[in-house]
Structure formats: C-alpha cells, structure tokens
C-alpha cells in the first residue's frame, strides 16, 4: 500500500475537521485566554498568527526544497507535485506574514515598513518563491522549466537560515521574542506560551490540510493529462 493511499482516509476525513477545530481553539486562546501585553496592548495579539504564519511558510519552503532535491535526483512526478503544492501553500503563509507584520509595526514602531535586515531578507524570500510560481504557471509542465524551478527551490530555501540569524548578525530592530527572556521583551506570561503553542498546532494542521488539497489537485490534473495524451496517440 502506497503512502498516498494510507494517508488519504485521514487527510480527507479527519484533517479538515481537526484543522477547523484547532483554529477555533487558537482564536479562543488569542482573544479570550491570553492577557494583554503590558507595553504593546491588544495589538500584540497579532503576534500569535504572524509568527505561526512565518513558521508555516518556512515549513512549506523546506518541504518544497526537500521534494525538489528528491525530484532532481530521482525525477519522479510525485516529488514535483509535493514541491509545487508546498511552495503555493508556503507563499500563502509568507504573504500573510508580510502583510500582518506592518500592521503590527505601525502602532509599535510608528512606521509601516523599514528596511531592517530581517524584513529585507523576508521580502527576498517572497520574491524567490514568486519567481518559482511564475516559472510553474504554464498549463502543461515543461520538464526543463520544472528542473530550473526545482533548483530555485533548493537554492531559495537557503535564505531562511539568514532570516533566522539576521537579527543577531546585523543588529536589526525586529524583535526576537521567542529566544529573548521575559525580562527583555520575551513572552512574559505562561498563558502567552500556551496560546502560541495552540496556534502553532492549528497552523500545522491548516498547513497539512491545504498542502494535501493542492497535492491532490496536481495529482489528478497529471492523471487527466496522461489519459488525454494516450487518447490523442490512439486517435492518431
């Protein structure tokens, strides 16, 4: 039994409900459970979705890079579908992260945007994977373009470690809340850690569900095109 067949019943029946339930729990924890942060006030609650959007985006791009590397090595279509689906879902979360960041920054920093090293590297990451999607936007997959896109995904993911270390490396102004102690702007209340973990689970499930939906779409589209090609050959 293939991995796909083993996953299908869980992904089709359980994952949508699990993701929806977890998202309701996340909203409850963010709006009703967690206390207001002392200096930032209510706007700090954006943090719980903003941070998890970025983690989901990183996960998507790492999955895409791994699957692309596998595709370049073995040349199997399944790995390419997984890479493409992961980039699309990763780009969704990356875009949400890029938009929610300035909404948080305006009342806290007094500006929507600054060319801080972490923010700049994040825009570069978004641009790299936008190029990937442009390359893959044709209806039929060209094997050469698919290989170029796979190389781009493998190289592009190297930007993520730079984003992670950029705050310390170039002394940017972007806060590193997770690694900072509570006395220096970290999560000051244990309920904040709980809310962050609940939101993380919700985003992981949402990511898995969306990835599955897109992967299935690409798999079915490929099967359809194969049948069309076979019918064309028979007709000739």
């Amino acid at each position: 039994m293939s991995v796909h067949r083993r996953l299908a019943p869980f992904a089709d029946r359980v994952l949508p409900w699990a993701a929806t339930g977890a998202m309701f729990a996340a909203l409850w924890s963010v709006f009703l459970y967690v206390p207001n942060e002392r200096t930032m006030g209510p706007v700090q609650r954006i943090f719980y979705f903003h941070v998890n959007c970025w983690w989901a985006a990183y996960l998507g791009f790492f999955v895409a890079a791994g699957a692309s590397g596998w595709y370049l090595w073995r040349g199997r279509s399944e790995h390419d579908w997984l890479a493409r689906a992961a980039v699309e879902v990763g780009m969704l979360f990356c875009t949400i992260g890029l938009v929610t960041g300035p909404i948080w920054a305006r009342p806290i920093w007094g500006t929507w945007w600054t060319w801080d090293p972490r923010l700049t590297m994040a825009v570069i990451l978004w641009t790299i994977f936008s190029v990937y999607l442009v390359l893959r936007s044709s209806v039929r997959d060209d094997p050469e373009i698919t290989r170029y896109a796979a190389v781009l995904a493998v190289v592009g993911v190297l930007d993520i470690p730079l984003i992670m270390i950029s705050v310390r490396l170039w002394r940017g102004i972007h806060p590193s809340v997770i690694s900072a102690p509570a006395s220096k702007g970290g999560l000051e209340d244990p309920r904040m850690v709980v809310a962050l973990l609940v939101t993380m689970v919700a985003f992981a499930l949402l990511f898995a569900w969306l990835l599955w939906l897109r992967y299935e779409g690409l798999r079915l589209r490929d099967a359809l095109h194969r049948v069309e090609d076979q019918m064309g050959e028979v007709a000739r």
Binding site: N36, V43, F49, L92, I96, T100, I103, W104, L210, L224
Partner: protein
C-alpha cells in the same frame, strides 16, 4: 482594549481571513477547471454498452 490598538488588531486578523478565503477560492477554481476537463474527456470517450 484601546480603540487604535483594536483597529490594528481587527485589520491584522481581517487580512489573515481574507487571504485564506482567496486561497480557498483559488483552490476551488482549480477544482472546477479539473472537473470541466474531466467532463470534456468523458464526452470524447466512445460509449460502452452497460453490462
């Protein structure tokens, strides 16, 4: 909750749900295209007698 903070919070979460909804609509559109292609393919197949 202070009013300006509330509005930024509202905008932040509004953006999250709008972008998620747009992505789901995009997936739905792809799904409809796939269904249409499948129907076109079925129409091209020779009719088989039902056993």
């Amino acid at each position: 909750m202070s009013a300006p903070g509330f509005w930024f919070l509202f905008a932040g979460y509004g953006v999250v749900w709008i972008l998620l909804a747009l992505f789901l609509m995009h997936l739905g559109r792809r799904h409809r295209i796939l269904e249409r292609e499948l129907r076109e393919l079925e129409a091209r197949l020779p009719r088989q007698p039902v056993p």
